[in-house]
Amino acid sequence: MSNKPPTQSDSISIRQFIFTLRQNPIYLREQGHWGEPNSIYANINRYSPFVIMGALVLGVCGGNNFLSTIGMNSGTEWLILLLCIPNAFMQMLTWGGLFMVPALTAPSVSEEIKRGTWEILMLTPQPVHHILFAKLFGSLSRLRIWWLLIIMSVLQGGVTIVAAATAASAFDAVSLATSLMVAIGLLLQPWLEIGYAALVGLTVSTWAQTSRAALITSYSIIFGTKLVIWLLSLLLISILTVGILDNESLFTVGFSFMRIFMYAGGIATCAAVLYRRSLSVETWSSK
């Protein structure tokens, strides 16, 4: 055994880090390479068939609800319908992800703090932001929905392009633009929602004293956000119903992008908090 001089690993860029992520011990640990890092996820995972069934119901209902609220008078029903088939699957995966992702990320740091291993990890040559990245991606890699979500996204993107190409001559420019924007919204929404859930879980995890508290707080924030969005949609629908806003297309696009901006804003906020926390180890050790 000999003393190693400081290496350049201290200052490697995020890009290099992501490139070498699969060799990172913290990433591998989160994947279960050394023991079971997350007993909460292991427990919740036992109930995954119920989560899948629940997500299936919610996904299909979400798709039908979408069908019933938009596009029915615009003459683009078949286009919307085509978009909604993969979307129903994506909704299903999103619901599944929203239940499972916090169980993966919320205990990732809080469990270390509880065990007394967080400070030990911070004293390794791994910078704090690398530890957080490795924990985030390592824990998320345990979820088995990513390939399916990518396939559904590609399918939905493909359907959108084919539909747009074939419908270009049949519909007016406004209907086409509306459908395209809604499709883009539908494509982004599952990724943003799951990304938001993951980052909320990780951010809460850095403050919580126990994994259970982190998980409950994360679920509250994530489903609270969903509730706020649902209430906002009700408000918009009621505005539409009383005739203050008479443009359905504008409503549909507006609502779709409002959701996207809310989730993107949530992700940016969590990322900013985590970045700030990662600048100094003292902010963690003073707990």
Binding site: M1, S2, N3, K4, P5, P6, T7, S9, D10, P25, I26, L28, R29, W34, G35, E36, P37, S39, R115, G116, T117, E119, I120, L121, M122, L123, T124, P125, Q126, S280, V281, E282, S285, S286
Partner: protein
Amino acid sequence: MSAIIEIKGLTKRYGALTALNELNLTIEKGDVFGFIGPNGAGKTTTMRILTTLLRPTSGRAQIAGYSVTDQPNEVRRVIGYMPDFFGVYDDMKVWEYLDFFAACYDVPVNQRKGMIGDLLALVDLENKRDAQVESLSRGMKQRLCLARTLAHDPQVLILDEPASGLDPRARIEMRELLRQLQMMGKTIFFSSHILSEVADICTNIGIMEAGQLVAFGDIEDMRRQLQVQRLIQARILGEETAPLKDILFQHPQVGKITDGREVELTPDIVRFDFGGTDEELSQLLRHLIEADIPMISFSEEIGDLEDVFMQATKGVVS
């Protein structure tokens, strides 16, 4: 010998509370430094600053020439830190725990297997290699934690209460382990409440109180600094202790003399306080032998570090 830890004017304030006040300390390479003091004295604060977990309000500290504030990454590579609680993963096997931390310190895969074997042999956990960490006793977990601090072969070990909560046997094992590490050339900076343990293995001791270093040096130095009386116990052949006491009464460095019977010991024993140096004590013993006092034993009582500690501290907490 060269200084491996240098602390100059180190101060840490939390609002109006001064946890550490202008601490100056130099530890030589290879030293075993025992940091003692009552709770809230500033020991853990000092250790956390040295490990880069806490930033000082003012002052500076260097380990192996690296500044803890300006070069934290370099400092982390030369130190091994064991906090005052178990930092273990119960879900891992013993070898996995060491393997994981070795990987975190960029130890190449082909070196790890041999290194894990060496570390487990050092901490006497070879037969627990494949055991689940959860199944280990408290003492074993503490030793495993110590093995983890050595995974990257650091020059300096910073150990916060390494023997806290251990049973007497585990404490002795831990002490022996620290001795071995000292022989391996490691510099050990550790805090403890168990004073006799500190006295046994430390080359230097620092006593903290209310954020200030009130005494520093080896035990002899400190006794001199604080003018603490040493307690000497003499045993003679037979029960006739009067000639011994007569000589002791005449010696200027001898203080209170106690007969063995008074302290529930055998009548052939006499205890006395001695304020002199080792040389003066040696001269006294020679004088007793020359005076035909039938000496059987003549020894210093352990536990006198407690006197040093009590003398140095006033029970003030910052």
